[in-house]
Symmetry: C2
Subunit: 449 residues, 2 copies
């Protein structure tokens, strides 16, 4: 039943500590208690909840109060705790508690994307040193298995791109704006009312949450440590109903995308310090995508991640990206696997960062722009505008001009160019006399060319 | 670097034998040779190809002929072979070779769905006994990670349903028929010409391939051993262009679906031998699905699997279900994980069949029917037809009647009823004087009700 005389067995349970009892923690505790028979069969030994660390004891949480404690550190350090589930969120004290657990050889399952985006290196080293496991499927895309597929299923392949909708709040808002034509503020208010946005929605709407997830995905995809600071980030707070309208006019919708992309080394760059290594571009921003792109039909609070790999080709993973039960599903999968490792003596793969690919600055990233200009309605405007694009080496794909009450609206869609060339073009356009204002600049992704 | 004084290390390679060098085997060999540096980093030790077993030595396969052998058994038994990749297909001699490898403690990675659908129990027992791993991601849905997510990622959840498009040949044919209006024979001929169908397409078009995959998926989803014999199977060879046309008229397309479903125990069945256990329904048949169902947009040779679990909710996995490189991607992911286990002393989860849920006979399965009747064009026909449905307790959802050159066409879509009630109704309809013929009966799946 057990290997190497391991102490665990059908009569010796595996002790679990849960840190945090918010939406996810509540579900994790419920599942551990309600599914104990199934879990015992799947682990090979009983999983026993030793305690749950919470902030306040005076709240009735529907479980035996004896299980609750405000002393998370003491709970983690208990001798009868073998596995720790961290679903409290935040950097401190989660970072220290996870470090303590791992250093003591206790495996950790976490959903903490913000912590992992910046501290995976340190935590993975602690895990490696003590031969404990660090699992974090729940940190990215809720219920959807994407971390394990990237680490394990694609371990024999070469990933070239990962593009995802990984934040439910912003996807709910943008989907609703697309469907209803409502403006951003009204839709954010509705999202808050319905519980899809928090009282302070900054982390979601400004793309911080998506950027943390992008850092994690990029690290896994490219075997390189990528932190939140490496991710170029723009949120959705400047997206307007007009953006959704002009997007629809070119057969697109607007989504907040996390994009992790291998930028191949240019051949024959003499004296290149990188020695011909591929680079990694990691960015989060709202972008137009064609309606026929699989990500365009991902609506509401659903998430999806598209992975493109050398041999596998294109893969897509879709499901609920947030919520107590969906996230708990991912936590429980990791918990069972971590428990099995304790029982059978196995080890999860540790951090793999051997490739050490350099991060490509956003300026070098090839992308397309959708530029909405308010212009004077007279001859020569198009020539002036087109001239600026040409001068910066940016090729134009389509132009649409519509008269308006005052002046005209000019919508330009470019071909691929570097961010820096496009940014310079936009700056120059703003200076043109015939351009009243640059109403909006939104990137365009997911097109074939 | 290694645990427990394990012999593998950066100077002691892990030996791999590949059995078979068809489309998939060729790609596996290529990847092992071309990606050796990356693989070494990811495994922790070099992966060295010891040999490749083929049927004929007189074919130039583009690799060192010294690697080729027709003696698969001798190759498997080599002392310097630690891992075996079986991509030869077929039951014999694959079954014996895999058994030999596992019994000798050598881990096996296989893509052999037909073998696994019937012999997983025997092979898993050999693996368990010798503490070797048996991995088979490549057996279902090509490049798409679905086996590992079901076994590992969802190990803490409760799966209720798995529905998939898992055969590229039939999906290509049905997608083409839907797009072009062409008939089955012409489309099959085109599929053969393009390489999507084999010279003898029986295994694909009659649903045997999909049924083997359904057995594997059901076993994993419900922790119960399900074999191919447990799977109700119908192929697509009787689907006509008229079926696609009438499907479109009700907002549907037609797909060959593999459906694995938990049928909840009816409460309070006194004297029930099952003691209130859930049952499993596993079936493969062509079915109408609504165009808004995520599976309806899976076209050509792509595959997709939708998993519904208690906590995760609905998940979808999508990608290339067949082809040399995509399938090799899945093989390589398993190979790296198996090699890591050899290196680090871990173990893959073995077969989990503790639930032992009974198989529900097809007659008990609740489904909906789309019935296309050729009828006499006179009064009283609808009453007679409706009467048969009512008599068998089958509720009608919609009826459409169209006059034709001779007689009329009557298309009935039912609500949910058991297969046996529906089958009895159809038999009775065929006997009606006013029914000239039952042109077609196709099930309808994926609707909300």
């Amino acid at each position: 039943m057990t290997d190497q005389g391991h102490p665990f067995g059908s009569d010796h349970p595996i002790g679990v500590a849960v840190l945090g009892m918010g939406n996810v923690g509540t579900e994790v505790v419920r599942i551990i208690q309600e599914q104990s028979q199934d879990l015992r069969q799947r682990v090979g030994a009983p999983l026993v909840l030793r305690g749950v660390a919470v902030r306040r004891l005076d709240v009735d949480r529907g479980i035996d109060p004896e299980l609750l404690t405000t002393d998370a550190r003491a709970l983690v350090n208990r001798e009868d705790v073998d596995l720790v589930v961290e679903v409290m969120g935040g950097i401190d004290p989660a970072r220290e508690l996870i470090g303590t657990a791992l250093t003591a050889g206790k495996s950790v399952v976490t959903a903490n994307k913000a912590l992992l985006a910046d501290y995976t290196g340190e935590l993975a080293a602690a895990a490696e040193h003590s031969r404990a496991d660090l699992y974090f499927e729940a940190a990215v895309a809720g219920a959807i298995p994407v971390v394990r597929p990237l680490i394990q299923s694609l371990s024999g392949d070469r990933v070239n791109r990962v593009v995802g909708i990984v934040n439910g709040t912003t996807n709910f808002i943008l989907s609703a704006m697309d469907e209803t034509g409502a403006d951003y503020s009204a839709t954010l208010a509705e999202a808050t009312r319905l519980g899809y946005a928090e009282a302070d929605p900054t982390a979601d709407v400004e793309g911080f949450d998506a950027a943390a997830k992008a850092a994690i995905l990029a690290s896994l995809a490219f075997h390189t440590r990528v932190t939140a600071a490496d991710v170029y980030r723009e949120g959705i707070s400047r997206i307007t109903s007009e953006d959704l309208e002009t997007a629809a006019a070119v057969g697109c919708t607007v989504k907040l995308l996390a994009i992790c992309e291998r930028v191949p080394a240019s051949p024959g760059e003499p004296g290149s310090a990188q020695g011909g290594k591929d680079r990694i571009s990691v960015r989060v921003y709202p972008a137009l995508i064609p309606r026929k792109h699989p990500l365009s039909s991902v609506s509401g609070a659903f998430n999806a991640v598209v992975v493109e790999a050398e041999n596998a080709g294109r893969l897509m993973f879709y499901g609920q990206g947030a919520g107590g039960a969906p996230t708990a599903s991912a936590v429980m999968g990791d918990l069972v696997m971590a428990a099995r490792n304790k029982f059978f003596g196995g080890r999860a793969p540790g951090e793999s960062v051997y490739a050490e690919l350099p991060i490509a600055p956003i300026g070098d990233t090839p992308t397309r722009y959708h530029v909405n200009l308010k212009v004077a309605d007279r001859t020569g405007v198009l020539q002036a505008v087109a001239g600026e694009f040409a001068q910066h080496g940016v090729s134009i794909s389509t132009v649409r001009q519509e008269g308006q009450d005052e002046g005209a609206r000019l919508v330009v869609v470019t071909h691929h160019a570097t961010e820096s060339a496009l940014a310079d073009t936009v700056a120059a356009l703003a200076e043109l006399e015939s351009v009243t204002s640059v109403t909006s600049v939104v990137r365009l992704e997911g097109t074939e060319e």
